[in-house]
Amino acid sequence: MSFTRTPTAARSVQFSFDGMPVQAREGDSVAAALLAAGIDRFRTTPKQGKPRLPYCMMGICFDCLLEIDGEANRQGCMVEVRDGMQVRRQDQSREVRL
């Protein structure tokens, strides 16, 4: 699965995914930016450890869950990407932090 981008006047945004720099466009959701960058999994499932990527892109399926700026279980498709954002993959289950 790969995407090409139509030309745009939108500003470019820089963020990191698992410490690796990623270029995005202003207005992209985090999920769209990562798909455009060719990331092959956002997370693995808690029970079976299977890889997942976003399915619906509209806040319904929760397959795009990511750790964004230290907060786990954020919906990547509902968060707009910002300069300097730190995004991490979520492998299997989360720990409860109180």
């Binding site: 699965m1 790969s2 995407f3 090409t4 981008r5 139509t6 030309p7 745009t8 006047a9 939108a10 466009r25 207005g27 992209d28 959701s29 769209a32 930016a33 798909l35 455009a36 092959d40 999994r41 499932t45 029970k47 079976q48 299977k50 890889p51 997942r52 990527l53 976003p54 399915y55 619906c56 892109m57 509209m58 806040g59 319904i60 399926c61 929760f62 397959d63 869950l65 907060e71 279980n73 919906q75 498709c77 509902m78 707009e80 109180l98």
Partner: protein, 460 residues
Amino acid sequence: MKQDLVIVGAGPAGMGAAIEARRAGLSVLVLDEQSAPGGQIYRQVERVTLTETARADRLGPDYAHGAALVREFRDSGAEYLPGAMVWQIEAGKVWYLSGDRAASADAGQILMATGAIERPMTRKGWTLPGVMSAGGVQILLKSSGMIPGADTVLAGSGPLLYLIAGQILAAGGRLQAIVETVPSSRYLAAARHLPAALGTGYLSKGLAMLMGLRRKGVQIYRGVSDLEVTGRDRAEALHFRHKGQAVTLTTSLVVLHEGVIPNQQITRLTECAHDWNPAQDCFEPRTDDWGNASVPGLMIAGDGAGIGGAWAAEAGGRLAGLEAARAAGRIDTTTRDAQAAPLRARLNALIRGRGFLEVLYAPSAPVPKDDATIVCRCEEITAGQIREAVAIGGLGPNQVKSYLRCGMGPCQGRMCGPVVTAIIAEERGVSPDAIGYFRIRPPLKPIPLAAIANAEPGDG
């Protein structure tokens, strides 16, 4: 401050309601989970119209109408709060999360306008990376200008599937194939509704789309069955039966779609009555002609009240806005009815052609045949496990949920709910109406515990 009307969602219905309610002098607060008004249908319409005129043109005249509607909404004087995720509704109070802060808004009346979701198209392999919903792919195209690769296959049925195919091609992309799950008998059954659909614009729109696809050399397979996606860690191939033959297409992106259904989450949370709509094969919340729900003080408009599309949603929203103004005592019944008349006429014209689409594009196989098919994506529960749970006495969705954790993952049953009901109904040989649906509890979406702990009541 108490608002006369709090609206959840800023798609065509929410915006339409806000505009009419403001015109009648009501104070209106619109809480929207998205970052800009438009809903899914007119997503990012302001930004795309401003920065990329060419892209907006390719998305078509309906999308351009969205830009005008958003302008009217922005000028209406309604208070608009983007990035506000509603997680609980109680009598006269709407709780939402804005950033990391939980707050509430007091409301004279509450209108839920949260739209539709795509019908879950539960097929073997649909959880693999490289399988996406058509709506998802359309959002990538609309919001981020992302065009999928030339090996992409679109599978399923419904007008949106063809619309998206056309939009991908118009954007300069290519497609390998469209795999249509509509059984050939449906074309005959739908023909009965053809006279009503003539002159509504649905048919000419549909025909133009089809001819466009053929010209661009997209392979179209009709009347297919037994869809399955295979691959190790990602989608590698789509398999199906076509005219008695097994067909395999090598692909890295399978796009699934079988129509849309009301997003029931918020109307179930608020314990509104729902009825089964056999023609559209989905539950709908019960409303009167003005959008009043079965629970006093609550209204529902747009696709969340019953699927009609963007134009019908806008008209329905405007009707709800007028009714809210009447209920608040700002206009009398005669004024409401007079202003509603042209909206009702438009609505009737829009609904006229839908019988044809409903019959033609009813879901082909709402219940997965293969027991190994995952139904609950979050908890990885299969159709076979659900059937077993029914066999040992799980008579309803909530029992099956407690047996299996099916519907208890982060999506809270959004993706599996309709299919769980369908499987139980089939196993027990009764109507989905008799089976009912998952009980939906707050918070409507998972939110940080700290946000609830720090909630500021009445701060809205």
